[in-house]
Amino acid sequence: MKVPFIQTITKSEKIIIQKCVVFVNKHPGFKKIAMWFMRFSPKFRQRLISKLINGPADNELSVNSSEHTIELNELTEDARAIYRELQSTIEHQIKSN
């Protein structure tokens, strides 16, 4: 099996990565260069993967990583029915608590 080679990072390394991420987010053109450079450092890559590729988890909403924000009427009929079921299950749970 493949075992990822990952190391913990020091506090100063963390600060460097954070600054790097802020810079790259402001200047997306540098993303590729940063990725290319960081590929040689597994521990930097680990952080970059989570920050640059995955992005903040809350922003990743769609089923297949589309950035489109969807509306209820854009769901299929079946999905709307499940959404209503989900809501009623949640409400039921709140009431029973």
Partner: protein, 831 residues
Amino acid sequence: MRIVIDLQGAQTESRFRGVGRYSLSMAKAIITNSKNHQVIIVLNSLFPDTIESIRAYFDKLLPQENIQVWYAPGPVLELNFNNTQRREIAELTREAFIASLQPDIIYIASLFEGFSDNAVTSIGLLDKSTPVCVTSYDLIPLQNPKLYLEPNDTYKKYYMKKLQYLSKASLLFAISESSLQEVIHEIKFPKELITNTSGAVESSFKQCTLTEQESLVLITKFNIQQPFILYTGGADERKNLTRLIRAYASLSTQLREQHQLVFAGKIPPNNIIQLQAEAKKAGLTEGELSFTGYINDEELIQLYNLCKLYVFPSFHEGFGLPVLEAMSCGAAVIAANSTSLPEVIGNIDALFDPFSETDIANKMTKVLLDENLRQNLIKKGLKQAQKFSWDKSALIAIEQMESAVSTRSKKPLSPQNIKKQLLNALVERGLLNNYTDQQLYVLAQALANNHPKPRKKQLFIDVSELVNGDARTGVQRVTRSILNELLKNPPKEYDVKPVYGTHAEQGYRYTQKFNLQTSDIEDEFIQARTGDIFIGLDLQHHVVCAQKNYLLALRNRGVKIHFVVYDLLPILMPKVFSVGAGQGHQQWLSVVTQFDTVMCISHAVEKELIDWRKTQTIKRHRDFQTAWFHLGADIHNVLPSLGLPQNAHKILNTLTKTPTFLMVGTIEPRKGHKQVLDAFEQLWKGGVAVNLAIVGKQGWMMEETNKKLKQHLELNKQLFWFEGISDEYLEKVYGHSICLIAASEGEGFGLPLIEAAQHRMPVLARDIPIFREVAGQYADYFKGSEGEVLAQKIKQWLEQYKQNKHLKSEQMSWMTWQQSATQLLTKLGIN
């Protein structure tokens, strides 16, 4: 017994490694040896780019409907702490989906996935009753915690959780005796529940003789300069490549000069840099090592066959698949005397101590210098390789599964309640706390894909142009007619659903345009599922191109996607179409030919399509399928438009008085109007009494001809132009003419020929394949592009006509739209 195989191991990065190869081969062998058992493969939709290649791998072995895809909101990789909530939702979602397939047993081909990718594996979170068996490859991180677990808490937590799942398995399949012992000793798994299923290699890994040309291509591509020692596999520490490089460096200069060390396969760039630095430190020069990068199976097999020696120094393996591959290809193989490798290699002479550079170097030297020993290794290797077979492995696994199922005590989850149980579990575990509506929408859509309402399979008929505007061309006429027939006589197992897309949004919607009752409700997006079929019947280039990714996602879900191709004229005859038409058609064709079947409206178009495709490099995983069907021609079954102009009677009388030749079709360059008009001008000049009646709207790029027609001296005397007339009037014009001239230089089908036959009207057609296909021996043909040639032919024809010796068209065969729709469905395998 229904076996559900979770094949995410063939979807993640593992697909480039032994685990992925093992997973695919084992699943294939289980299918081929399953006898009366049913096998369903489940795949993760968060790896969309891997699904079609896996479907292709099992094509013809397993019905496509037995490959099911499940959905969950992503990303879910454990590496990112922010994904925890989503991953836990995905774990339950996956288990619920698999339970909905009502398996008797679940086989997880690779459990340790999902740390740095979106794989999701778990056991017993929701479904606690179905037995689960798992292939256990190795426990390397557990045995080397300092190297793999202690440096990273997140990875450790992930790994320990997977171990907990592993301990919940009903059965374990170890890939070697060594791996089996590891599981017993390390996690105290009950001995009686573990079986050594061993492993094997695909039958393509065999000895072959390469031609000089093939060898040259290979060694040039990978910059190999001399006989070489080969290594294939990963580059993590246990692979022991640093020692291999040092051992190689300690070979005599002469041996090194005669043998390069080649590392084949995908090795991460940082590892390559480290290995190159190691080589430099050991005194090696640049050309002595070669890194090929990613290679495909064919190249790998060739390299195994070409190498002088294959060396595998890994000190920890679960099985060591590359060793068996190399032996099967007739390579002289030496390997480390540790873990599973001795049992795979089965020859003590081929083993060395992986922790001793001297021992590695000595063994390499010995084999490279002693040809007898080398030949002996090859011979024994080939014999040993025969002991391993996927069939054997699969039969052992199936036997164990049968036994586990027969002793199953717990009742399976009720399929009706699975969705409800899942929703309850999600809520009870607090996994939806603080979830926004947006997040719930996404989750609801994923669950709807996983658990669609029970309904008949759907046959989606794309009618985009009819809904979005209706250009009222021949294509829309076909679309309307076929749809009409399918709605009247739907195939037994399907509901026929007209659908449309636009270029502005992703996804197709059901249209209510063809329902008897109109409604103000907005058209719903389609809810597709495995087994549905989509036929791209209407022609809207830009919509299909815009919907390409959506259609690919539908295909991933198991929806078959077919397209109808009407012609390739804009590509084959670009000069007679407006600028850009050919390019647009080309783009559209390159999209539609990526899907399941392309149905052409004639055999001639199918041939043209096949020829065109040979000039393209469109990547496909499955074979390219084409077929053809013929269009219907029962014009009487289509509601005709009505209306005659006031002077109709007078004009029709004129047509009757003199033999009238009829042309039907839009006036555009390829239709041959210019040549026909030239021919008739010559006939008129020569005093031949004939009329020419042209029925058709003004098209494009024909301004000069249009002007000429409008200003012609014979207009309304011997030349008649009917623009935009009703079907009723056209019928009458047919009835008052004696011959149809079909002068088009290119057509997809040639409906006017059949319409003429239905009017018992003789046909004089240009000699092109499609007219031969449609009219056969029931038409007369002409060649050449000069007016004079055609004028001569018309004269000859008139002579034959006078003597009643001309070819009659009554026997020309044609189909009704009902027959056409049936033929379309039959050729697509839809009953």
